[in-house]
Amino acid sequence: MKVIDRIGNEKVRHVLQTLKYSLYVITHPLDGFWDLTHEKRGSVAAANIIIALAILTKIWKLRFTSFQFIRVYWEHVNVLEQILGMILPIIIGCIANWSLSTLFDGKGTFKDIYMACGYALTPYVLIQLPMIFISNIIAYDEGAFYTYIIGFSAIWCGMLFMSAMMMVHDFSLGKALLVMAATLVGVMVIVFLLLLLFSLISDAVAYFVSLYKEIVFRLY
């Protein structure tokens, strides 16, 4: 606290303060997420940093975790795919959630949802990043330890998402669960529409390309 307060640059200080607030959020989820949006104690920049760290964690996990716990078929790994595999679900999930929560009288703006989503990923970074190192000093038959802790971090994140949903939109627990389920359906609809769009565009392009080829072959 003291060190952060001493930083002169106001912007940097604000980001670091909001980043530090994530530690409070994950230990006091209900209170934390309420203040995050209503008391302006969080920032999008901090959420961006946490998401970036989560992406790094995901990639480092593949690269540095001991082979005893994760087998990676490197021929099939694409870093871009890994990055998009983290970012796209977040973005699409936020869009779907925002669209639906508006219908369900949710109070959160898109910015709020994104911020809460980023903060909810904190345990993923905090637990899984050190676990990469720990996996290299434990043996396969001690693996129960590893799997339990990884499972614990996932459950923690899930509970944070739940609390974020309740606090950001001012929902009751039942309504939050309902909106979450609806969000999953919404994500599927968005993915379906995107695929449809892409296939239609590629069909349309292919039509003009073949038209062009036909004309060229006729002329020459």
């Binding site: 082979f67 005893q68 087998r71 000093i137 043996a139």
Partner: protein, 493 residues
């Protein structure tokens, strides 16, 4: 000018010579051999077996075989069931040299029907007694080495058997006490077992019937017609068997659903103990099912269809696949050693393989369409693998590792060699190196063993300065605190 021409001609000839294809040693045809790696990808390997000779009936002036179905090899003698010609042909085998001994289609002794009709399989016991599946005569014949009738085994007089049905024995073996186990067509309760006196004593090795909740559910909601359809479920019908030196029966089957193969529910290869329980060891990354990657090429698709099996003295077993004409070799732990062979017309390839046997380390494969036997001999590479396995079985882990190193020099993709070397390094206390070898081939269980020992060793070596740092950190932080407090107190005062 003339000289230039000469030199030019010389180099031209040299060029032509260099362009000639290299002819392989005609006597040793190496063939495409492969293994599967951890990920189930096919990895090419040097040839482990080479086809040496092909023998057909007309080479010995006894006429071609006609659809031969069964073969047995014992003490350097090959017994061929020449099914279409209703006879048994016996050869003598010395290395890869084959000599004709005799042929017979009739037996002597106190029995009504003395001729063989469509014999499908033969088994020869230690004392020379023969058990012949005389299929079209609906009996299993037991004769002595002079072809004199001893007894015949016929349709079991049991209520489980429809007495009006045909009794068509396909394959038979006998154990050391004279019990006979037979594969009979359309009998799906396992092997038919006869006691030493020739009396039917039951079935062995039937599939356990397991109750599935999902089946019950589907039955609840389906119509009567659908239920009848479902009940036509066919239990395992074995297609071949082999009895090893310890009296265990190795069996193959090809009645299963293909999707059950990789999850090891189908169990195309089984090792049955005297109670009929499958005790085959499967420590490999994949269960012994033949091909893992099936593909679709040349009009062939689907899984391997294992139709015969032979077990060597070192408990290495070779299974014959009819789909692609391949031979799969597995060690006693169920690891794939290599697979080779194929369908084709060259030496070492088959058209319709029906039986596989071994003589020492040599393999013999009977082809019913080619009407002949192909004899395979291990190559240098195959021998190295055999030696490594032998030494390991004897407990000489270090010399086994030496052989694995030689194997590795010939085939850098060979998983078993890495693991074999790793095991030996582990025993020698070279934990770090052992870890490397296990890691390369994703063997996490052995890696964990080496790693734990390495971790212990490392801790013992470095415990001094680790504690040093911890103590130093505590001392420094507490002294800083004390100093601060003193300064604070001094300022206040």
């Amino acid at each position: 000018m003339k000289r230039v021409k000469k030199i030019f001609t010389f180099f031209f000839c040299l060029l032509l010579w260099a362009m000639l294809p290299v002819w392989p040693d005609a006597k040793a045809v190496g063939m495409y051999t492969y293994t599967y790696d951890y990920w189930g990808d096919e990895r090419e390997s040097p040839a482990a077996y080479a086809a040496r000779t092909f023998i057909a009936g007309n080479m010995f002036g006894i006429g071609d075989f006609s659809e031969p179905q069964g073969m047995f090899v014992k003490d350097g003698k090959i017994y061929v069931c020449d099914t279409g010609n209703n006879r048994i042909v016996v050869f003598e085998l010395k290395g890869t040299e084959v000599k004709f001994v005799e042929e017979f289609g009739e037996i002597s002794g106190d029995v009504e029907n003395k001729t063989l009709s469509g014999p499908n399989d033969i088994f020869v016991a230690k004392n020379g007694d023969m058990y012949i599946c005389d299929t079209k005569n609906q009996r299993i014949l037991h004769i002595d080495k002079n072809h004199k009738f001893i007894k015949e085994l016929t349709r079991p007089n049991d209520e489980t058997v429809d007495q009006a049905s045909d009794f068509l024995p396909q394959k038979a073996v006998a154990d050391s006490s004279g019990r006979v186990y037979a594969v009979v067509k359309n009998y799906n309760k396992g092997f038919v077992e006869y006691d030493a006196s020739g009396k039917f004593s039951g079935y062995i090795g039937a599939n356990q019937v397991t109750f599935k909740m999902s089946d019950y559910f589907w039955k609840l909601i389906s119509t009567k017609a659908q239920r009848e359809q479902m009940e036509q479920f066919v239990p395992t019908e074995y297609n071949n068997l082999f009895i090893d030196n310890d009296g265990f029966i190795y069996a193959t089957t090809s009645t299963f659903e293909e999707y059950d193969l990789l999850s090891d529910k189908a169990k195309p290869i089984r090792k049955l103990n005297s109670l009929g329980t499958d005790i085959l060891i499967k420590n490999g990354e994949y269960p012994p099912i033949g091909d893992i990657d099936w593909g679709k090429a040349g009009g062939i698709s689907g899984s391997s269809k294992l139709i015969d099996i032979t077990v060597l003295d070192r408990e290495v077993y070779y299974a014959l696949d009819m789909t692609r004409g391949r031979i799969f070799g597995y060690d006693s732990q169920g690891n794939l050693l290599y697979a080779f062979g194929g369908l084709g017309n060259k030496l070492g390839y088959f058209q319709y393989p029906t039986a596989i046997e071994h003589d020492g380390d040599n393999l013999l494969v009977l082809d019913s369409k080619n009407a002949g036997i192909t004899i395979f001999e291990p190559t240098n590479y195959g021998k190295l693998i055999n030696n490594a396995l032998d030494e390991y079985k004897k407990g000489n882990y270090d010399s086994s590792a030496d052989y694995w190193r030689q194997v590795l020099a010939l085939n850098g993709n060979y998983d078993q060699a890495y693991i074999g070397i790793g095991r030996s390094l582990l025993r020698q206390g070279e934990y770090k190196q052992a870890m490397h070898y296990f890691k390369v081939k994703n063997d996490e269980k052995n890696y964990a063993k080496a790693f734990k020992l390495y971790r212990k060793e490392w801790m013992e070596k470095n415990i001094g300065w680790i504690f040093g740092i911890i103590i130093a950190a505590i001392v420094i932080s507490s002294s800083v605190k004390i100093a601060r407090r003193i300064i604070w107190e001094a300022r206040r005062a």
